[in-house]
């Protein structure tokens, strides 16, 4: 069967050159980077070279990179790490209502521990307004955490403007850049961020590794106690092959991003205009332009997302309803809800997230099969009576 993978925001296949870079670190240069001997020092060297690469990619210094097990850990470390390190200064945190659960659920957890959290609203495109950030700041605000690009709809936040406000008010600023790194330019200085999360498996690197940027001088408390790894910010034997993979993935992303983004944008436009032409009553969720070049979230009136997803899967097409982590839960997307999308349209949304392996043929294949599927599901649906809007 033809297989078309359009779920690159959930995860990406490892780039062949990334895997190639990793291979020697499983069996040959396999030492523990904390060991004093040759095997250890070889591993350490690879670790530190990767640290340089990751740092260079986001405009940071090597010493500011902490390797973690992924985006979720990076977000947890950043937010809890700052919250607990600054508890004496204040207990107020500002975030948005469309964050990934790795941020939202940390904030909810902190609320149970006596912190107060402001969840900023977004407009219909999923944008946080910098003014709302400014207005939410209180004397006891210790952290602002607003994601760079949303994983479900791809909307990019006005991160520079928010960063300027945070800097002017001297409040620590974290951004979850898990979805934007590798797709659009990310620079910790131009963003004025103090902490930034990224995840390897979203950028053609291996799963199980991520990084947290921590600006020099920013104190965080660790999540794990143990050995003195990662300058005492993250205990545990370093995942050398994983880190090498992440380093190489950053290097490749730096080389290819501009070209790749152009290609993805063209494919995404082809998909969007094709859907609008071939399927009635489809609506874009997310910002029409200030959006990741690979992410297209569309609502199909009268149709429920999972049934659409399963039908596409039967044709070999992999897409997602919202984020992979919340599939298996009952709640409709908190992102679309926050954007004010009609609940039934929110239930009928699909995320197509493109990647470097996609081709025009992939897109045309999707366009060839989707309209029949939608028609069939609409025939079953109690809502979709005509060719007009939902009941």
């Amino acid at each position: 069967m033809r297989r078309v993978y359009l779920d690159n925001n959930a995860t990406t296949p490892v780039h062949p050159l990334v895997l190639e870079a990793m291979i020697p670190f499983f069996k040959e240069t396999f030492g523990n980077a904390s060991s004093v001997h040759y095997f250890g020092q070889q591993a350490k060297k690879a670790l530190e070279e990767s640290r340089e690469k990751v740092a260079a990619f986001i405009g940071a210094k090597a010493g500011e990179i902490v390797f973690t097990s992924g985006g979720t850990e990076s977000d947890n470390l950043a937010i809890k790490g700052v919250a607990y390190a600054n508890r004496a200064k204040g207990r107020h945190i500002i975030t948005s209502s469309i964050e990934h659960h790795a941020v939202l659920n940390v904030c909810k957890q902190l609320e149970k521990k006596g912190f107060e959290v402001t969840y900023l609203p977004v407009n219909r495109y999923g944008e946080v307004s910098p003014e709302s950030v400014e207005d939410a700041i209180r004397p006891d605000t210790i952290l602002i955490t607003v994601m760079h690009a949303n994983n479900e709809v791809g909307t990019l936040q006005p991160i520079d403007a928010i960063g300027k406000i945070a800097k002017a008010r001297q409040i620590l600023f974290h951004t979850d850049a898990v979805q934007s790194v590798g797709k659009v330019p990310v620079n910790v200085d131009s963003f004025n961020v103090d902490l930034l999360s990224l995840s390897s498996h979203k950028i053609y690197g291996p799963k199980g590794v991520g990084a947290l940027y921590v600006r020099r001088g920013t104190r965080i408390l660790p999540l794990f106690q143990g050995g003195h790894h990662e300058r005492r910010r993250r205990a545990g034997t370093e995942n050398v092959p994983g880190v090498v993979g992440l380093g190489r993935a950053c290097e490749l992303a730096a080389e290819n991003m501009d070209e790749e983004a152009g290609k993805l944008l063209a494919l995404m436009d082809r998909l969007q205009s094709g859907l609008e032409r071939k399927v009635e009553d489809v609506l874009l969720n997310g910002h029409p332009t200030k959006r990741l070049p690979n992410t297209l979230n569309m609502s199909f009136a009268g149709v429920e997302g999972e049934s659409l997803l399963l039908n596409l899967d039967m044709e070999g097409i992999a897409v997602s309803t919202g984020s992979a982590c919340t599939s298996g839960t009952l709640e409709p997307s908190h992102v679309l809800s926050a954007m004010g999308v009609d609940p039934q349209l929110a239930q009928g949304s699909l995320r197509f997230s493109l990647g470097r392996e996609n081709t025009e043929e992939d897109i045309d294949y999707v366009l060839a099969v989707i309209s029949d599927i939608v028609k069939r599901l609409r025939a079953i649906s109690p809502f979709y009576k005509s060719s007009s809007s939902p009941s």
């Binding site: 429920e304 049934s307 839960t329 009952l330 239930q347 109690p382």
Partner: protein, 137 residues
């Protein structure tokens, strides 16, 4: 696989899809949590359900349970039909993932609501207790 083969088969080829001309009973239920909506129509002759059809807005499990319940109910008399539990529907589909059990509840409720409607129209409403459901989800 998320779903059993049986679920996928009913999802792929749902039975008894569509509206019904002049139904004897209509059940309309919705799950406020997940947004699934089912409409179930029955035709009754001599106290026996001779035909059933449905329209559903919902996930794979919602469509499959709708399809299955309409199959199960055909040929049964009203008393028998009222004894069809959500568990029976789920079992007939070789089980459902825990997070999807609520879909079978919805299917049972749709059926009960259609029968209720029929009984009301024919002047024989049931008491509340008899329509309670068994939710394992």
């Amino acid at each position: 696989m998320l779903y059993s083969e049986k679920v996928m088969e009913h999802f792929r080829n749902p039975r008894n899809v569509g509206q019904m001309e002049n139904p004897d009973g209509i059940g309309h239920v919705g799950n406020p949590i997940c947004g699934d909506i089912m409409e179930l129509y029955i035709k009754v002759e001599d106290g026996k359900i001779v035909d059933a059809r449905f329209q559903t807005f919902g996930c794979g499990a919602a469509i499959a349970t709708s399809s299955m319940v309409t199959e199960m109910v055909k040929g049964k008399d009203i008393e028998e039909a009222l004894r069809i539990s959500n568990k029976a529907v789920a079992e007939a589909l070789d089980g459902l993932p825990p997070v999807k059990m609520h879909c079978s509840v919805l299917a049972e409720q749709a059926l009960k609501s259609a029968i209720e409607d029929y009984l009301k129209k024919s002047g024989r409403a049931k008491t509340k207790e008899e329509t309670e459901v068994d939710d394992d989800g």
